[in-house]
Structure formats: structure tokens, C-alpha cells
């Protein structure tokens, strides 16, 4: 897979405070990549360095195969965490302006904006001043502004913060739509549930350091620790009594079962099916929160609660 963004041993300090410490990760093209971690972990600084807004003290960053330059900047859609709009500008003028500084001319911008207006239900607001728009409407304008130049990579810092549930669902839908067009999306969030269903790849950071990164599915498998979700017409006692079962915990009507290391799962399932009615049998996928906590522990860092 081609590389969209590559960070090698990137560090950045502000005075004595190390904001990012020896961070490396690779974002392949065509994926949704989550940069995850608690507030103050260095996500925004990392994103700003990718955008060439601040420069790293050491390390190298390449975007679309080379160091970020003006031409590359025009191929990226960036939505910073601190995002706002000129309050007194008309919505359409504002979109034209943000397109113009990406070197998109007005007719082209107009065509692209038109495509999004109905989808976002923004058309009646086009000639209104930004001031007169609700917060949710302004967020839609910001989102259109981020994609008006048809970028290859979207970089979104805390994209879901401040979005209502409807807009959150909409944005998730757009992001998946974007990926299906072969575009790359990098987004940061401190709310892990938001990344859970969306990300193909993740990088977890805490206290300026990377804890782990990689493909989310592989990570989940790795952190499943041989645990199995079992939905079965049997009691906890009966399940524990099954051959090969080390432990069994009921959770919301299913059992989380740990099998002995030498047990063949297919054989275990066959034997169980002979005795009981099994509705579901699957690898238990650990939630991101759980992965994060065990990774933090493994990294020897003290535990940082990720949910405030």
C-alpha cells in the first residue's frame, strides 16, 4: 500500500515541555486513521507538524511521498481543533475565500459547493452572514470548507467535539464515503468510542509518547487474549464444567470464556454444540478503552483515564 503520511522519530518541545517525544507512524493511502489519546497527549501538536504549521525539533515528516510543500498543502483538507469562521462574512463568500486560498477558482468552487449544499441542507443559508447561523450550521460550513478543494487527504483534529449526535452520524457517514473514493482520512479524538467503528488503523498516544499503533483488527485480535464470547443455553456452572474452560464470566446475557492455551477451538465448539444450543460463538473483541489501558500498563506508564 502507498504511504499517505509518514512520521519518523518526530519530537517537539515548547521550552522544557516535551509535547511530542520520538513519535513514528505510517498512514497508508485509502484508510481511516485514528490518532487517539487523552487531552494533552500531543495529538494537536503532531497534526500541526504534519500540516507544517509548526516545525518539529527533530525527526522527519513526509506527506504524499515528500516533505510538505505548498503544492501538497493544497491537496490536504485540514480542520483544526480551534476552528472558526469570519463572523461578518456571507456563507458563500466565506466558502469562496477558503477555496481561493487553496487555489480553487470560483466556478469550480461553486460546482463543488453546490453538490454539498442540498446534502447538508445549507442552501437557504447561502447568503446569510455566518453570525446568523446556528452552531451546527456553522460546523457544516466548516466541513464543506475543508473539502471544497477536493483533497486527497483529510486531517481532522477533534472533528466530533461539539457536534450533536445527528451531525456526528452525518460526518461519520461522509468519512466512510470519502474512504470509498480512495481518499485518506486522519482524525484525532480523545473519545475512543468514536474511533471504535470508524478506524482501519490507529495510533495510541499518551504523555507525548506513542503507546502502540497498527491495524485495528489485528490489535483487537492481539488483545483478545484468547477470550471468547459465548451465547449459549446453559448456566455458568455448566459452561465452567466444559472441557478446556479455564474461566467463565457472565456479561449481559453472554459468557466471556477463557480457554486453555492448548485447546482446539473448532473441537471445543463441536463438543459444546453436541450438548447445548449455541446461538453465538466469537472471538471477544476488546474495546479500544481496554486495549488502551493494557497498552499503557505494558508500556510502564502510569494509568491515564481516557474518559473524563
Amino acid at each position: 500500500m502507498d504511504t499517505a503520511i509518514d512520521l519518523q522519530n518526530v519530537s517537539k518541545a515548547f521550552g522544557k515541555f516535551k509535547a511530542v517525544d520520538d513519535l513514528s507512524f505510517r498512514v497508508p493511502k485509502g484508510v481511516i486513521f485514528g490518532l487517539l489519546g487523552p487531552n494533552g497527549a500531543g495529538k494537536t501538536t503532531t497534526i500541526r507538524m504534519i500540516m507544517n504549521i509548526t516545525a518539529p525539533d527533530s525527526g522527519a515528516i513526509s506527506v504524499l511521498g515528500h516533505a510538505m510543500d505548498r503544492e501538497t498543502q493544497n491537496r490536504i483538507g485540514y480542520l483544526p481543533e480551534e476552528r472558526g469562521l469570519y463572523r461578518k462574512m456571507k456563507v458563500i463568500e466565506h466558502l469562496y475565500f477558503l477555496a481561493a486560498i487553496k487555489e480553487v477558482d470560483r466556478p469550480t468552487a461553486r460546482k463543488r459547493i453546490d453538490n454539498w449544499l442540498d446534502r447538508m441542507e445549507l442552501r437557504p443559508w447561502l447568503n446569510k452572514k455566518v453570525d446568523e447561523l446556528s452552531k451546527g450550521m456553522q460546523q457544516k460550513v466548516q466541513f464543506i470548507a475543508t473539502i471544497v478543494h477536493d483533497p486527497e487527504i483529510l486531517i481532522l483534529d477533534e472533528v466530533f467535539s461539539g457536534l450533536d449526535p445527528i451531525n456526528t452520524a452525518l460526518v461519520k457517514e461522509y468519512l466512510i464515503d470519502f474512504r470509498s473514493k480512495g481518499k485518506t482520512i486522519v482524525f484525532s479524538t480523545h473519545v475512543l468510542e468514536q474511533a471504535e467503528k470508524l478506524c482501519d488503523q490507529i495510533c495510541l498516544v499518551s504523555k507525548s509518547k506513542k503507546i502502540l499503533d497498527g491495524e485495528l483488527k489485528a490489535l483487537k485480535r492481539h488483545f483478545s487474549k484468547g477470550l471468547i464470547h459465548l451465547s449459549i443455553a446453559a448456566s455458568e456452572k455448566e459452561v465452567t464444567a466444559l472441557p478446556g474452560v479455564v474461566s467463565c464470566q457472565p456479561l449481559n446475557g453472554v459468557f466471556i470464556v477463557k480457554l486453555a492455551a492448548d485447546v482446539d477451538r473448532r473441537q471445543f465448539l463441536r463438543q459444546t454444540l453436541d450438548r447445548y444450543d449455541v446461538a453465538a460463538f466469537s472471538d471477544r473483541e476488546p474495546e479500544l478503552e481496554e486495549i488502551y489501558l493494557s497498552a499503557v500498563q505494558a508500556a510502564g506508564l502510569e494509568e491515564t483515564r481516557i474518559i473524563e
Binding site: 519518523q8 525539533d57 513526509s62 516533505a67 480542520l79 480551534e82 469570519y86 486560498i101
Partner: protein
């Protein structure tokens, strides 16, 4: 530098400002004030014209008739002159010399208060020995009125004294002919007559420069702070370099200023100027003739000065989040600009003296200082060149410094930074990421 992007910024700055009501109200209010001012001038100048009814008590008994004749003669001479019929028409009323001067004065006072007469002139023989007479009116401050009366009276008195000595009567006008000292400015191209209006025009040009530096400089500061408090700046910085954004903003706001001047001069040419010039030609000042060199220097120092102060204001605005936080530092350029006024008399008195040379070379005062000097005298060419060199160097230096502070400052939210912190920002590594092949660059 990507001029396409700079142009987009200029375009936004320009049109968004031109579209505001505040711009048009400001643009229209100032000429309106000017018209009202001129209107008041015209209205009050009518007062200096018109009829003056003056009662005269002539204690000498011999001065009244010559005075009436003299005033009539002056009026006739004036009507023949270029000013036309405007001016004062004197109507004198003779009152008999009283036994009790004080009672007579009191009676006349009542008449003035009842508006039967505009004033009264007392020629007391006793007073006259002490070279004095008395003129009473409701508005003694009406300089023209009392001046004309005084001049006429002096002339009449002189004639009388000459007659008393048995000298020829025409000696009076001979003796009264005053020497008119005309002021000429010596320049390398020769000599040119210096008129009061020349200085008047220079002052107007200076006021224009001065207010532009303050008003539109401040607009730059406000613009920078607005972008920060709106949280828009990071979105823009992802597409436009800080120096480009700064450049676009300064140019855009400068163009708004030029538009305003264009509207004003258009209004002036078409509405008020004919009135003003006809008024001026009727006074001693004469129509201002503005030398081309003054205009060239004006444009030159105007542009340099604007860029200098706009960069200073941008640098001041960048670290702060509200106008209030920036206020303290924003006073610094104001102080320098205003200080030129304090030096104005010194420059006027001695345009090539030490103070004038310093003010015209020190970069924070030189746009105004050197402009004043070039229009009042002819400073050495090397000083003008040095001034422009220092000014250009300082502008580039401050723009560079402002750019660096701007780059860091626009991303700083939250607490108000201290000045040492701001200075440290200027030393941060520039915003160019190193190449992957050479990861270490310091």
C-alpha cells in the same frame, strides 16, 4: 510568496471592509464635518461683511468728517478690487461732545444693548494726547472691524498732524506706505515665493499621513486579533503562509484607505474645491500651489510609513487575544507618531537644524519628519536617501520580526503572554519542515 493566495487575502480584506456600514458612515461623516466647518466659516464671514452702525463722539470736533471720508474711500477701493463687494459698510452717526463723558458712554451703551447701533467710538482729546481712543462694541473680538476702524483713524490723525505742522497733505499717504516683506524659499532650482497656503497644504498632507498611520495601522491590529478570537486563523494558516497572510492584510487594508481618499478627493474636486479656492483667492493667502515634488514625497513617505506602522501594529496584535490586552503596547507607535507634532514648531523654525535632522532620520518618526522637511526646505539629497534607506531597512526588519511573532502568536490562545515570551517567539525555528533525507536541521 504565492501571489494568488495573497490576492485572495487582499480581496477578502478589501471587500469585507468596503461592504461595512462603518466604512461608508466614516467616509461620509468626515466630508460632512468639513462642509459644516466651511459652512460655519462662510456664515461667520458674512458677519464681517454687512453694515456697521457706529456712533462717534468726536471730542476734537475735527476728525469726524475726514474719518467718514476715509472709510468711504477705502470701501470704494475695495469694491474695485478682486474681493468684490464683500466687506463692511460703515454708517457713522455723529454725537455731540458731551459735558459728562461717562453719562454719554452709558447712554450709548444702552443703545448698543438695544441694538440700535453696533458700537461706538470715543475720540476724547485728552485720550488722544496719550495716543489712544476707545471703541466699544458687543464683539470686540471682531478683529477685522476694529482693525479697519483703527487704520482709518490713524490715517486721518496723521493727516491732521501733518497739516498742523504745515507740511503738504499728500505726505500722509507717502509716510503711511508700508513695506511689504515677501518671503521667498531658496531652493537649488532658484527662488520661489513662499505663501502661507503652501504651509497650509503641507499641514493638511501631514494630517492625512498621520491619521492614516494611526487609523489604518490600528485596523491591522484589530484584524489580526479578530482572526485569533474568531478561531479562523489556523484554518487559513494551513493554506497561506503567515507572511503572505500578513502581507495580504496590510495591502488590503491599505487599499481600503486609498479608496477612502479617492472618494474624498473626488468629493473635494467636484463640490468644495471651487468654493474654497475662490474664498482663498479673496484672502491674503492665495490659492495653494502644491509643487510636484511635495506630492511625490507625500506618496513616497506615505507608502513607506504605512507599511512600517502596519507591520508594527500587526506584530503588536499577534500575541494577544483581545484589543484590551494589546492596548498598552499599541500606545507605543501612537507616541512616536504624535511626537512629530511636538517637534513640528522646531522643524518649522529650522527645517535643517539638529532636531529636524534627527526626527527625519529616526525611522519611527521619519515618514512624517522627512516629509515636513522636504516641503519646508530642501534637505541634502544624502539625507533623503539615508532616510529612505533606514526606513526601508527598518520596515523590512520589523516585517520580518512581525512575521515571526505572528507565526507563533496566532496559535497561542489563553493567557496573555509577557514581553520576554514574545521576544523568545521570534527565535523559534522557522516553519519549514526538514526533508526526510536529512532529519536533523537546526
Amino acid at each position: 510568496m504565492n501571489w494568488k493566495k495573497i490576492f485572495a487575502v487582499i480581496r477578502r480584506e478589501y471587500f469585507e471592509r468596503i461592504r461595512t456600514k462603518a466604512f461608508w458612515i466614516g467616509t461620509m461623516l468626515i466630508p460632512l464635518f468639513f462642509f459644516v466647518y466651511i459652512g460655519i466659516q462662510v456664515a461667520t464671514s458674512h458677519k464681517t461683511g454687512g453694515e456697521r452702525r457706529i456712533a462717534v463722539i468726536d471730542g476734537t470736533g475735527s476728525l469726524y468728517e475726514p474719518l467718514v471720508a476715509d472709510l468711504a474711500e477705502r470701501e470704494k477701493a475695495r469694491q474695485a478690487g478682486p474681493g468684490g463687494s464683500r466687506g463692511i459698510h460703515w454708517v457713522l452717526e455723529r454725537r455731540p461732545a458731551p459735558a459728562d463723558w461717562n453719562a454719554a458712554k452709558e447712554r450709548l451703551r444702552q443703545e448698543v444693548l438695544q441694538k440700535k447701533i453696533n458700537g461706538y467710538l470715543i475720540i476724547d482729546p485728552k485720550l488722544l494726547e496719550k495716543d489712544s481712543a476707545e471703541f466699544y462694541s458687543t464683539s470686540v473680538s471682531e478683529l477685522v472691524t476694529s482693525n479697519q476702524l483703527e487704520r482709518a483713524l490713524n490715517h486721518v490723525l496723521l493727516k491732521a498732524r501733518i497739516a498742523r505742522q504745515g507740511l503738504p497733505a499728500n505726505l500722509a499717504s507717502e509716510l503711511e506706505r508700508r513695506l511689504d516683506v515677501k518671503a521667498f524659499k531658496v531652493t537649488e532650482k532658484g527662488t520661489a515665493e513662499e505663501k502661507g497656503a503652501g504651509i497650509f497644504a503641507v499641514v493638511i498632507f501631514t494630517v492625512i499621513m498621520y491619521s492614516t498611520f494611526l487609523m489604518y495601522g490600528m485596523q491591522n491590529l484589530k484584524g489580526v486579533i479578530d482572526e485569533k478570537s474568531n478561531r479562523i486563523v489556523e484554518v487559513i494558516i494551513a493554506s497561506v503562509r503567515p507572511t503572505e497572510l500578513m502581507m495580504g492584510k496590510i495591502l488590503g487594508i491599505g487599499l481600503v484607505g486609498l479608496t477612502q481618499y479617492f472618494i474624498w478627493s473626488f468629493l473635494a474636486m467636484n463640490l468644495s474645491l471651487p468654493g474654497i479656492t475662490s474664498r482663498m483667492s479673496s484672502t491674503d493667502m492665495g490659492v495653494p500651489t502644491i509643487p510636484i515634488s511635495t506630492i511625490v514625497y507625500f506618496v513616497l513617505f506615505f507608502i513607506f510609513g504605512y507599511f512600517l506602522y502596519a507591520s508594527i501594529y500587526t506584530a503588536i496584535g499577534a500575541p494577544f487575544n483581545t484589543d484590551q490586552e494589546a492596548q498598552q503596547l499599541a500606545m507605543i507607535p501612537v507616541m512616536f507618531i504624535v511626537s512629530v507634532w511636538a517637534f513640528f514648531p522646531a522643524i518649522l523654525n529650522n527645517p535643517n537644524g539638529g532636531i529636524a535632522v534627527f526626527v527625519s532620520l529616526f525611522p519611527l518618526t521619519s515618514p512624517l519628519g522627512m516629509f515636513l522637511r522636504t516641503s519646508l526646505s530642501e534637505p541634502p539629497v544624502w539625507q533623503i536617501v539615508l532616510c529612505i534607506a533606514i526606513l526601508a531597512g527598518t520596515t523590512v526588519g520589523i516585517a520580518w520580526f512581525a512575521g515571526r511573532i505572528y507565526r507563533v502568536g496566532i496559535l497561542m490562545y489563553g493567557k496573555k503572554p509577557t514581553i520576554p515570551e514574545i521576544l523568545r517567539w521570534a527565535r523559534y525555528s522557522p516553519g519549514k519542515a526538514p526533508q526526510p533525507a536529512a532529519p536533523e536541521t537546526t
